[in-house]
């Protein structure tokens, strides 16, 4: 048994490929747990960042700087009364959030956090991701219809139209990235997520910069479409609070509502992961070609530890700035403790065995976090599109651009 467990560690494949059920299970738990924690962190971060964009403080009461706010929110939502409208279609109403949640979590099966850090590697990986993430629109439609109310219905109609429309542009942008994998005489193309990153590794470039500016444009199309796909500002029409109160989940409350939120944030992280994998070199560290060599590898592998240490220092600065008042004592101690934990993690990350294993995961997560920050930034800056304008952007702007880029990429691929 132990051998069975250990045998995987020496292998150079994902647990799914190795057929190692134990490690696959561990990975599934780790990934799903990690995603759930990331969603909570994202929740806190969004509220804090948005607040600072808007000259306010955001959550400050629950825990130091509101660090425990997501937990408090989760507890509140869990204990809230779960209301099902009496005229609602009970079964559909009940199953809709589950579908969204399942769809957005299943996607994580194929996300490559590192060359071996994925639950499994499907040879239709990217297709699988697009397919499964397109299932979440079903949940939205069902939720809107089952609520038996006008606002959710309009929200559902909007979102189904929106998600189906933007999937087209998104798919075409993805295809042009996939085309790049097979080019440059590096072998045949692939749909596998790990294969795509390996292709970038082999070509010594991120696809973002390949066939400049084609990769860049395709990435742009995807970056816009993915915001629309996840119903986030400025494309948050299905849940436009000023128009449709809360869109398709108007009638939901408590736990079920929190499942929607969980699904939404998980989907945001998932599509950002796709973008990172396809265009930003996945787990590769920055400047793989310009700053190559052993020394640079070492320098970049020290980044994770330093990041955590920096966060710890940030916490300690916060501790120093805490008001010296008995009322704040617990908060101060909590923040100091949090900083200490972060510092400890940072120190552990300097250890060579850990460092080598964690290095690629770190770069992947950092890139995804960048996208998450963009999501917040959009939300703070942009007004909301109107429905017809949204459709216009999707069909008349993004789609032609995506088709054009696709054709040009194919031509470039044949020429070079």
């Amino acid at each position: 048994m132990l051998d069975y467990i250990k045998s995987y560690l020496d292998m150079n494949a994902t647990p799914g490929q190795a057929g190692n059920v134990f490690w696959a299970t561990v990975y599934i738990f780790v990934v799903f747990g990690g995603v759930s924690v990331a969603v909570m962190a994202m929740n806190w971060l969004e509220r804090k960042a948005l607040a600072h964009f808007q000259i306010r403080l955001g959550p400050m009461r629950v825990g130091p700087h509101g660090l425990l706010q997501p937990i408090a929110d989760a507890l509140k939502l869990l204990t809230k009364e779960d209301i099902i409208p009496s005229e609602a279609d009970k079964f559909v109403f009940w199953i809709a959030p589950l579908i969204i949640l399942c769809a957005s979590f299943t996607v994580y099966i194929v996300i490559p956090f590192g060359p071996t850090h994925a639950i499994t590697d499907l040879n239709i990986g990217i297709l699988f991701m697009l397919g499964v993430s397109s299932l979440s629109v079903l949940g939205v439609v069902m939720a809107g219809w089952a609520s038996n109310s006008h606002y959710p219905l309009i929200g559902a109609l909007r979102s189904s139209a929106q998600m189906v429309s933007y999937e087209v542009a998104m798919g075409l942008a993805v295809v042009s990235a996939i085309l790049m994998t097979s080019l440059n005489k590096t072998g045949t193309g692939t749909l596998s997520m790990i294969g795509i990153v390996q292709a970038q590794q082999a070509q010594q470039t991120w696809f973002l910069f390949k066939f400049f500016p084609l990769g860049f444009i395709a990435f742009g199309v995807f970056a816009i479409a993915m915001v629309a796909e996840t119903n986030r500002a400025p494309f948050d029409l299905p849940e436009a609070e000023s128009e449709l109160t809360a869109g398709f989940h108007t009638e939901y409350s408590g736990l079920r509502w929190s499942l929607f939120m969980l699904g939404e944030y998980a989907a945001m992280i998932a599509v950002s992961s796709i973008a990172v994998t396809l265009w930003l070199g996945g787990w590769m560290r920055p400047f793989p070609n310009a700053l190559a060599g052993e020394t640079w590898d070492l320098v970049f592998s020290l980044f994770p530890g330093f990041t955590f240490l920096a966060l710890a220092v940030f916490c300690f600065i916060g501790v120093a700035r805490m008001p010296k008042h008995p009322y704040f004592r617990i908060q101060t101690i909590g923040l100091a403790g949090f900083g200490a934990v972060l510092a400890l993690i940072g120190l552990i990350l300097f250890a060579p065995p850990v460092r080598d294993r964690i290095f690629d995961i770190y770069w992947f997560c950092i890139k995804v976090a960048g996208f998450m920050y963009l999501y917040i930034w959009y939300r703070a800056t942009f007004p909301r599109y109107r429905f017809d304008q949204l459709m216009k952007v999707g069909w008349k702007v993004l789609l032609p651009i995506a088709v054009g880029v696709l054709i040009l990429t194919a031509v470039m691929g044949v020429i070079f």
């Binding site: 808007q54 006008h150 400025p234 109160t245 942009f382 007004p383």
Partner: protein, 384 residues
């Protein structure tokens, strides 16, 4: 509540375009509990998909019978009540009421009082427009301007608070002038504010004026022509954005407005974007007026000679001012007693709201929100 369909009795909506799917129209109740109806406005929308076939406003949820109350109060006692109508522009409401009563008494507020009134009323116009901008932008989906405008509106409210102790329902003026002399440092505060706020207005404009989504959401939305405005009695920035250069401060100057040099910004297209631009320019013009007023504020008494018991002679008077939202009129009928026989308030929001139906027909649900925002209504004033 009554079934919404019975409310639609008068809506001559015509048949929606028949499609192959024979999609039937949807009737939606927007409000009274809705985040974007600015209070308790209830709009019944008749939709074909997302297209608005017709609307009907149901108002009165905030009706307090102000006009009836007036009949049972003396002129002085009624003064604070007017602040509660348009509670975001309480100073303007008070100004209109005090001037109307002064007119029927045939007295004249002293010049210094008039200057103080102009300064406060223009500050209030700024505050009202800032609140409008923040909520309007929030309705269209831009969250951030709301917090910026509230930050800057706060400075105005601080001045109000220092002047008269109240922030929102100020009751700043009295019949015959002002009760309070300006506080120590009033001029400095106002001057500081005048330097503080122009960059902030630039900031709002930077966020919105050239923002593509903002322009697309507002250009061509909620169009109303100047003729329609006049026919529907729509006044204020909405009228001016439709190209009619009419502002009571210029047309029939009251208080000290004839002393100041300012422009009436107008728009050409009569759409939501023009109304936005007009209001933004009005904010700058208000600053101009305040600057002139604070520089030239005369010394002297702040209260005219007014009898202790206000007992206007028998007669009636109509007086109106340019409130931030349009023409705010007071029609006072006196029977010679201490209590008005009747006070009629001509609320700009109420009359402007009538234009909603015309402005949103044939547009989308999202535009209804934009148009409600751009009309800048305050339900306290609509319902009184």
């Amino acid at each position: 509540m009554t079934d919404p369909t019975t409310y639609l009795s008068h809506l001559e909506l015509g048949q929606p375009d028949k499609t192959f799917l024979d999609s039937n129209e949807l009737i939606i109740n927007m409000g009274p509990q809705h985040p974007a109806t600015h209070g308790v406005l209830r709009v019944i929308l008749k939709l074909d998909g997302e297209k608005v076939l017709g609307t009907e406003c149901v108002i009165g949820y905030l009706h307090r019978g102000v006009e009836k109350i007036a009949e049972h109060r003396t002129y002085t006692m009624f003064n604070p009540y007017v602040d509660r109508m348009d509670y975001v522009a309480a100073v303007s409401n008070g100004l209109g009421y005090c001037e109307a009563v002064e007119k029927i008494l045939n007295v004249q507020a002293p010049p210094r009082a008039n200057y103080i009134r102009v300064i406060l009323a223009e500050l209030n116009r700024l505050a009202s427009h800032m609140l409008w901008l923040g909520t309007h932008a929030l309705d269209i989906g831009a969250m951030t301007p709301l917090f910026y405008t509230f930050r800057d509106r706060e400075e105005i409210l601080k001045i109000f608070e220092k002047y008269c102790g109240a922030r929102l329902t100020t009751h700043a003026f009295r019949i015959g002038g002002c009760q309070y002399e300006t506080y120590e440092g009033f001029e400095d505060d106002v001057k500081k504010f005048l330097d503080f706020v122009p960059p902030k207005i630039d900031e709002y404009e930077e966020l919105l004026t050239t923002n593509r989504i903002w322009v697309e959401r507002t250009k061509g939305v909620g169009y109303i022509s100047g003729e329609d405005c006049i026919a529907l009695g729509v006044t204020g920035p909405v009228l001016r954005a439709s190209g009619v250069k009419w502002d009571l401060r210029k047309a029939q100057p009251y208080a000290a407005y004839s002393d100041f040099d300012f422009e009436i910004p107008i728009g050409q297209n009569g759409d939501t974007y023009d109304r936005y631009i007009v209001r933004m320019q009005e904010m700058r013009q208000s600053l101009r007026i305040i600057r002139q007023a604070i520089d030239r504020i005369p010394e002297g008494p702040i209260m005219a000679k007014i009898p202790k018991v206000i007992k206007p002679p028998v007669g009636e008077i109509y007086h109106s001012i340019e409130a931030p939202k349009g023409e705010l009129g007071y029609f006072i009928v006196s029977d010679g007693s201490t209590q008005p026989y009747r006070i009629r308030v001509r609320p700009p929001s109420f009359v402007n709201l009538q234009a909603l139906d015309l402005m949103v027909r044939g547009q989308l649900v999202a535009d209804v929100i934009a148009v409600i925002g751009t009309l800048d209504i305050v339900l306290g004033e609509v319902d009184r």
